[in-house]
Symmetry: C2
Subunit: 503 residues, 2 copies
């Protein structure tokens, strides 16, 4: 047993003791209560669960001032950004309420008895308790009440939050609000619970009652949880959204047009949120030649000018500076902007550049660098670019700045994305992840642990659902979702065809 | 290097040498060609891939006599069964052709630019090469041209078949037909290839170009592949459909009605295909009392009478007899029908019985016994039954024989299925798995490695697809599936609503 403390990254000072670390015994009791709460959530209709999600969103919104203040004190991300992030978080809960009301998530499929085959009815149901590991860089949107929690609750799965070491006080406060809101809504408060400490986190991933894991963070920590889950007697899925290089490619045509504006957009994206986004463009490919030189020169200015920011913790700042220095020390790398450290977690931006021929020689150059830094890679030909892009680890995103007339160039980058990224962007930066129906936030490993899924957007609910089929059941004994008269008014595929009029 | 031989299970004699085991170097060349072929398949429209699947079905049907003869010689399953299984297999290919023509599998989702969010378009694309490990008990339907292969090809993924040790000659013949058919259709024959030998099988699961694994077989072999895949630098999903107890429950009401007919159905299900089905009812719960005694007595007669069958191999027969004897030796077990062995792989059926109080004392009693055997469990109360059912490893199926008026009984069994099975059946046996849109063949571990998916039915395609999103793309540079005018005529969700009229 130890204490979990809350640290102010601007000063490095311990501000308060949040909790004792959760004992293994206690994780077992929490898991058992979460299993019970999952059954309760599962028994609600989709519309009832939607109302619960709306209520949770309302309750968080009702404590906005206190939550934003607490989040800022633990993350140094600033009021404006955090206020926006809380709105994003409540919008996320409401999106999943809309997903539930829409009903297609349940994938109700009915094949009536025919040709000797029996009546068969299939729907998706919740997996059971889900362990959620939030991220330091999104204390709201990818944390205790974030997308993993929202989509798991929508699926009818109780959530056990592992409080993040960088914002344990906020996680505790958010979970307390969610639990009270559940109680007010007549739902078991154990629909959301919290554990503290690394050992407790590992224990819930290993607990036989826990059925899935949502994680946002580094590849190292994500892989650790994947390995624990894969080693269980009964393995469970881990949905880990991990590091990403997010290559951004500037075509010769794009370099010719407005170098200053382009460089400014790239610089803003690298600096946004202290560069602490999983979608930050970490590698920027710029063509050789004068036009490319101009883009690079503007980009260099854009990163050199700002005085710097407080990063999420002094540990993250130290890792950032070390990573940038390791890149700078690699063969063929030229430093354009050197990072400066300051009090607490303070740091300024960094920019290095390397020729494409040297990029793949040293793995240091193709590791994610979390923080306000980018590595510019100069390339001589589209072929060399495509070869290098294919050799990179998969990313969440690839951004392509090109003229619409450069179709061969764009197509070769799209071909890279097929296998190398989850989202490919034309003429825009990768930071900024809209929460909607079409969003895809995930990609082949190591961008995420399972390329089949997304951690943002409506489809994220699919991670926590599994099919259950009923064969030859009397209508009255079927779950409502599968009854012939469709009392829940769900979209259905019947005998191979989507039912007319329900959509 | 060694030789792969084909054995006649009726005699135990080696009939022919099929191939040399595939070298690791060769698995690398095969994987590289499969990656190339996957890109080619992916470039086809869904309708074009549908035509390919239909052509593959036709080509297998065109060689029916030769294939059924070869399958019978390697499996001893008999002409009638194998003829039916080949039809099932070609129907499966045609179902996935229908899935492709339907188009909903692509999950096309479009959010137009709005409120500052960019235009975002999401679809599902193929993962890349898939390794397929077929089953001894379904030489057609779960083997080289089986459901895994059909759904992977439908998803645009090339398939590398690991030839099964029990029917390598058939697998080689089937793959040759599929390759020739691909060539005839103008598609790279490497859309389907084959490797021989256990080492080559492990090598393709470990190969970095291979993106997923389909497997049908024992828990031991399935878990081995899961562990190899989880240990890769870049882990990939393994869809292993493994062992299952498939508990069959007889309610007091069902026992009262027509014991003879009920017992006959259960016996037929236990004996079907030599009891070598993953859905064979392995545990049969019968109530205490006279009515239950009558059911059991009929069941005992039904299993004692048949003279026996040739099992798939003498190895499977030996394991079967050993498992039955281990069950018979456990505390509290009474033997009602003892198995007899004969020449080659010959064996007759077995039946043991135990009281529910003794069931969970010895793990031997809750391990799958592959072959024509069942363990009858006598129970005294619905509560005791529910407790025991919850303690069992998860199964593919749960069958409930009850009166429609016994709703509390049925509900308690459905509650068990929620977490304990993929398909729950009312008043019917679990053998017989229709291939259609609503089928669910899979369940929580150890029934399958991933409870989120099915290995039979239309939804099986989802295992080999991943989302890819395009942001802010000019229409002309988008893949056809995502273009605004919908040239492929796919069902689409647009701005959160399913498009009118396309379904």
């Amino acid at each position: 047993m130890g204490s979990v403390t809350s640290v102010d990254p601007r000063t490095g000072a311990v501000v308060e003791t949040v909790a004792e670390t959760t004992s293994i015994d206690e994780t077992e009791r929490i898991s058992a209560r979460a299993a019970e709460a999952s059954r309760e959530l599962q028994a609600l209709t989709p519309t009832e669960r939607a109302a619960l999600l709306d209520a949770l969103a309302d309750s968080l919104g009702g404590e906005r001032a206190r939550l934003v203040q607490l989040a800022d004190r633990e993350s140094a991300l600033g009021y404006i950004r955090l206020d926006g992030e809380l709105t994003r978080t409540t919008n996320q809960l409401r999106l999943f309420a809309a997903v539930l009301r829409d009903g297609a998530f349940a994938e109700v499929t009915i094949d009536h008895a025919a040709d000797g085959a029996p009546d068969l009815r299939r729907m998706l149901v919740g997996l059971g308790p889900v362990a959620v590991f939030g991220a330091s860089n999104f204390p709201f949107a990818f944390s205790a009440a974030g997308g993993d929690t929202a989509s798991a609750l929508a699926a009818g799965c109780a959530v056990i939050v592992k409080a993040h070491g960088a914002h344990p006080a906020l996680d505790a406060a958010v979970v307390a609000i969610l639990r009270a809101s559940c109680s007010d809504a007549g739902v078991a408060p154990d629909a959301v619970s919290v554990v503290f400490g690394r050992e407790a986190g590992t224990a819930i991933v290993a607990n036989p009652l826990v059925q899935a894991v949502g994680f946002t963070g580094s590849e190292g920590a994500g892989r650790l949880l994947m390995d624990v889950a894969a080693g269980r007697d009964r393995p469970i899925p881990v949905y880990a959204e991990m590091g990403s290089l997010n290559p951004l490619v500037v075509s010769p045509g794009a370099a010719r047009r407005g170098a200053a504006a382009l460089a400014e957009r790239i610089a803003s994206s690298v600096l946004l949120g202290g560069g602490q986004f999983c979608t930050k463009p970490g590698l920027v490919f710029i063509p050789d030649g004068h036009q490319g030189d101009v883009v690079l020169s503007h980009l260099s200015e854009g990163l050199a000018e700002p005085e710097g920011v407080f990063l999420l913790s002094s540990g993250i700042r130290d890792t950032f500076v070390n990573r940038v220095q390791a890149v700078a020390a690699a063969d063929g790398v030229t430093t354009l902007v050197e990072p400066r450290s300051g009090v607490g977690s303070f740091a300024s931006a960094a920019l290095n550049t390397v020729r494409i021929e040297d990029l793949l020689d040293d793995p240091t150059l193709t590791e994610e660098c979390f923080g306000p830094a980018a590595l510019v890679v100069r390339y001589s030909s589209t072929d060399a670019l495509a070869v290098a892009m294919r050799a990179l680890p998969a990313s969440l995103t690839i951004s392509v700045f090109a003229d619409e007339t450069e179709s061969a160039f764009v197509e070769s980058m799209v071909a890279v994305a097929d296998g190398g990224a989850g989202r490919v962007i034309f003429g825009d930066v990768s930071t900024g992840v809209a929460v909607n129906w079409a969003q895809q936030h995930g990609g082949p490993y190591p961008a995420s642990s399972s390329s089949l899924h997304t951690s943002v957007g409506a489809a994220a609910i699919r991670r926590f659902l599994r099919p259950l089929a009923f064969q030859s059941f009397p209508d009255a004994l079927l779950p409502q979702a599968l009854q012939e008269a469709n009392p829940l008014n769900l979209p259905r595929r019947i005998d191979g065809v989507m039912e007319n009029g329900t959509l």
